[in-house]
């Protein structure tokens, strides 16, 4: 019997349509609008006629070459992200290796997962204010604890020291996110075909060998996902630096997002400068993700896809002959 030529292809378009429409209105247009504002003289609370600048790249040039605060914000963002991400991914991988290792059979895993993930569910703003209260000077819980343990003779003004402040912001980010990363990685390990692990055990592989030769390579895609989302999250880091120390002391925890917020919604309402800064951050995000994709692309998968395409073509051609 000949199959009726019903094409379901149109449903693909229909199902994806809401996404496209909303994306165009609430994401695409605002992004383009932001880009345009970056080339204008739009500033101040009271709307005024807006003009394109004579030199369209004036805002960008000012930011990159003449604005020390912006450069500092970029550097801070990078530093804080590194301080948070490297220990985060290492710890998450270690915990994943332990929790998914059947030979270790760690008890209370459920409880550990629940507790380690917990900080992630709490509002970042709340955590920032909480930590600023915990590290209060001259007397706060942390100072009390140091005094109790005999680690300090006089109260320490933790939040006045630039390195400590930056380190603490990084630590808070790390503390909030490693549980999340761990859960995603564990989900990834659960998704690996158990046959692979059985084969590794049959071949007499040790736990360490299994982790590095079977688990890690299979986690590539998930690791890429974690890395990219963490990077984008890092570039957007706002709540903690803003509410923990308002970017201080001496702009040591001023991230690019806090900078953008301060430019656009505080003081001079420099929308144009903030927009230009957003675009620079955006470009950095694009470049970083392209680099990442390039290095982590799976060559075997690309080969496989090619094969698949050929097979599909062959399959399409086949029924016609019948």
């Amino acid at each position: 019997m000949r199959r009726k030529g019903v094409s379901y292809a149109k449903y693909g378009y229909i199902f994806c349509l809401p996404f496209v429409i909303i994306f165009l209105i609430f994401s695409m247009y605002p992004t383009l609008y932001t880009a345009v504002i970056g080339f204008t003289d739009m500033k101040g609370v009271i709307p005024k006629p807006v003009h394109l600048l004579d030199n369209p790249f004036q805002n960008f040039r000012d930011l990159i070459f003449n604005n020390e605060t912006f450069r500092k914000a970029l550097l801070n963002t990078l530093l804080i992200w590194i301080i948070n991400f490297i220990p985060q991914i290492l710890l998450a991988l270690l915990l994943t290796a332990w929790f998914t290792n059947n030979r270790l059979n760690i008890r209370g895993q459920g409880l550990f997962k629940v507790l380690l993930y917990m900080p992630n569910i709490i509002t970042a703003g709340t955590i920032a204010v909480l930590f600023s209260a915990l590290f209060a000077y001259p007397m706060g819980p942390v100072n009390s604890f140091f005094h109790l343990m005999g680690w300090s003779d006089a109260p320490i003004f933790f939040l006045q020291d630039k390195t400590t402040a930056r380190g603490l912001v990084g630590f808070i980010q790390f503390w909030m996110w490693y549980g999340n990363t761990m859960i995603i990685l564990i989900a990834g390990v659960m998704g690996i075909n158990p046959v692979l692990f059985e084969a590794a055990i049959m071949d007499g592989a040790t736990a360490v060998q299994t982790f590095f030769r079977v688990t890690l390579p299979s986690l590539k895609t998930i690791l890429l996902y974690v890395l990219i989302t963490s990077m984008i999250g890092g570039l957007q880091m706002f709540d903690i630096p803003q509410l923990f120390l308002q970017g201080g002391p001496d702009n040591a925890t001023l991230t690019t997002s806090v900078f953008i917020y301060n430019q656009a919604f505080r003081g001079a309402y420099m929308y144009n400068r903030a927009a230009a800064a957003s675009m620079i951050v955006f470009l950095i995000a694009v470049v970083l993700s392209l680099v990442l994709f390039y290095f982590m692309r799976d060559r075997d998968a690309a080969e496989l896809k090619k094969m698949e395409k050929m097979m599909k073509k062959a399959a399409k051609a086949a029924p016609r002959e019948v």
Binding site: V36, T123, T126, A133, T221, L235, D239, L243, A275, F282
Partner: protein
């Protein structure tokens, strides 16, 4: 001989593993424990040192807190409306988009997925200024809709659900429901959504948390006090009016954390289960 040595090193390993896990768990709990305890203590008590047991100043802290126009209930309600709406939009439409991407063979399918991968990279701040100006001209500041509707296009959720569908969707199910005469939307709502439930639940939790905790967008859009979300209210606690009132700062923080704790400990089972189910099994 060798075997017992192995056993010994194995149990030493186990001790290290448990110590590290317990330490990490403590690091998760202690800050919140101190917060809850300090919420019941007066400022002089807090400044005199640590305590493991609650004190008796909860009520006076409460009065000081409310005196300064801090309304946690209103904030909770606003946050709940926004996060609930966001979650429903994000989860349903992302599942729909992911299904459209996986189940149907259309010309622009691959380009569209590449496009989603690309827009996943766009940081929210990249569009924040334009978004604010656009909403301002549209008269939508101090409105919850611009905080909810954009969730219909959630690239990361679509990405995650697509990965899940690729692993679980079998063409037989789709074919079977077509032979039974079900429409495409019907089979999506009645057959695919239940199959995708593990992914939907996990993503719903992550989306809800992200929206609940979001400070940046609400902060720039909402300027009226009765529209404030909880994170914006928390930022008020950082202000000058509470400078010396540590007890009420801790109480305010506790009030914003408490509902999250309840929510989390009720749902944590599902988070872990969802994560376990989210994995691909053959």
């Amino acid at each position: 001989m060798e075997l017992s040595q192995n056993k010994k090193s194995f149990s030493i390993n186990m001790v290290i593993i448990y110590i590290l896990c317990i330490l990490l768990a403590l690091v998760s709990i202690v800050p919140f424990y101190i917060m809850f305890i300090n919420a019941t203590r007066s400022t002089p008590e807090i400044q005199s040192g640590l305590a493991l047991l609650p004190s008796t100043h909860l009520l006076s802290n409460w009065n000081v807190l409310l005196d300064k126009s801090f309304n946690p209930f209103k904030g909770f309600l606003n946050s709940f409306i926004i996060s609930g709406g966001t979650t429903l939009c994000a989860v349903y439409f992302s599942a729909l988009t992911a299904y459209g991407l996986v189940a149907y063979n259309w010309k622009l399918r691959q380009p569209f997925f590449t496009f989603i991968l690309c827009v996943m990279m766009i940081p929210a701040q990249a569009s924040a200024i334009g978004f604010y100006k656009f909403m301002y001209q549209f008269g939508w500041t101090n409105n919850f809709l611009p905080l909810i509707l954009p969730a219909i296009a959630s690239p990361t959720v679509v990405f995650f659900m697509r990965q899940y569908l690729l692993a679980t969707l079998s063409t037989e199910i789709v074919e079977a429901s077509r032979i039974d005469g079900a429409g495409e939307f019907y089979s999506f709502n009645k057959i695919m959504m239940p199959i995708m439930m593990p992914a939907v639940a996990t993503q719903a939790i992550f989306v809800f948390v992200a929206s609940w905790n979001n400070l940046f967008t609400p902060l720039i859009l909402l300027t009226q006090r009765d529209k404030y979300t909880l994170p914006i209210m928390v930022s008020l606690l950082r202000g000058d009016i509470y400078r010396t009132e540590f007890g009420s700062i801790y109480l305010g923080l506790s009030l914003t954390v408490l509902p999250l704790f309840v929510f989390y400990f009720l749902l944590s089972r599902y988070i872990i289960a969802g994560v376990a189910l989210g994995g691909v099994k053959e």
